[in-house]
């Protein structure tokens, strides 16, 4: 198992809608390990989705515990298989970038809190409530499973403060 190369847009795998994992097997566990290795070996990454390493199964890993923004509020190392968002609340805007879209960032508004259901690495049903940076990271990674990049979500140009309705 090892860190794998991050796929860069326009690699078509990044625009692919991924398939749910049906039968957990050894290859699934290998994928999970590769995702974790890829995330931790990059040094700064807080999440990787399967399509970013060329696999179209619905699996993401997230870990914001080592980052300044997520340090105080996190669930540690998360392996999420077939994740679904059950509930979302609030709004949070962050300037996002993505390893698969180098040299570009944009302001993206996402839910501030999400309740997510998923299978963990051992195949057990889990439901967690994540907020803040961890919630943003989960939503960003889960977007990859539907072929969405942050570019599809940019809510405004960074100078949007002056754009408003005429009086």
């Amino acid at each position: 198992m090892a860190a794998r190369e991050i796929r860069i847009y326009p690699d078509p795998v990044l625009k692919t809608i991924c398939s749910p994992v049906t039968i957990p097997d050894d290859s699934l566990d290998a994928l999970v390990q590769d995702l974790l290795d890829t995330m931790y070996q990059s040094g700064h990454s807080v999440g990787v989705a399967a399509p970013q390493i060329g696999d179209t199964r619905r699996v993401v890993v997230v870990d914001v515990s080592a980052s300044k923004l997520g340090r105080d509020e996190n669930h540690g190392s998360l392996v999420m298989i077939n994740p679904e968002i059950l509930d979302r609340e609030g709004k949070k805007t962050m300037r996002e970038g993505c390893m698969s879209v180098p040299d570009y960032t944009g302001n993206v508004t996402r839910a501030e809190m999400v309740v997510v259901q998923f299978l963990d690495r051992q195949g057990r049903e889990q439901v967690i409530r994540a907020s803040g940076f961890e919630a943003v990271a989960i939503q960003h990674e889960m977007d990859h499973l539907d072929g969405n990049l942050f570019l599809d979500r940019v809510s405004n140009l960074k100078t949007d403060v002056f754009r408003r309705k005429k009086r």
């Binding site: 700064h44 990454s45 807080v46 999440g47 980052s67 923004l69 962050m94 300037r95 996002e96 970038g97 993505c98 390893m99 960032t105 940076f133 943003v136 990271a137 960003h140 990674e141 942050f150 960074k158 100078t159 403060v161 002056f162």
Partner: protein, 179 residues
Amino acid sequence: MSHFALTIIGRDRPGIVSQVTEILYRLGCNIADSSCSILGGQFAMILIISHPEYTDRESFGGAFAPLEENNLSVFLRTLRPGGEKHPHLEGELCMVSVYGSDKPGIVYRVTKELGERKVNITDLNTKLIGSEERPVYVMMLEAVLPPELNIAELEQTLKSLKNELQVDITVRAIESVEL
């Protein structure tokens, strides 16, 4: 490949961008970075363009004459090699908001403080809002701090200006995250 900075400005109306970009397309120019916006009633376009063969402004001949005929002002600058490359900026990214009743010197005094501390402004917008009787000036800028300066120090520096100019100034970090 030679790069050029192209600036176009004129009274806003629909169709300016397509008229400009049709000319560039037919010439075989590439548009790299660009930024276009309405300022006052004017539409202003700034584009970094390149062309595989053109080397100077003469190469473009009279290609932009139709724009001038449509009351758009066109300015073309030939970039020195490497002038199209984005510099890598180390240091904290921050947003500075300045606003208060309109008076001369707000932009100058604030940016002078920043310049003297080697703060690199990467984006800046200003707008006059409020009523005619009570105009309010708003300036928003993004800047990269030099490695030796942090946001708290910058905010402290700008505090005296706040009193002197009677404006509100806030500095905050832009949290740019790679996911």
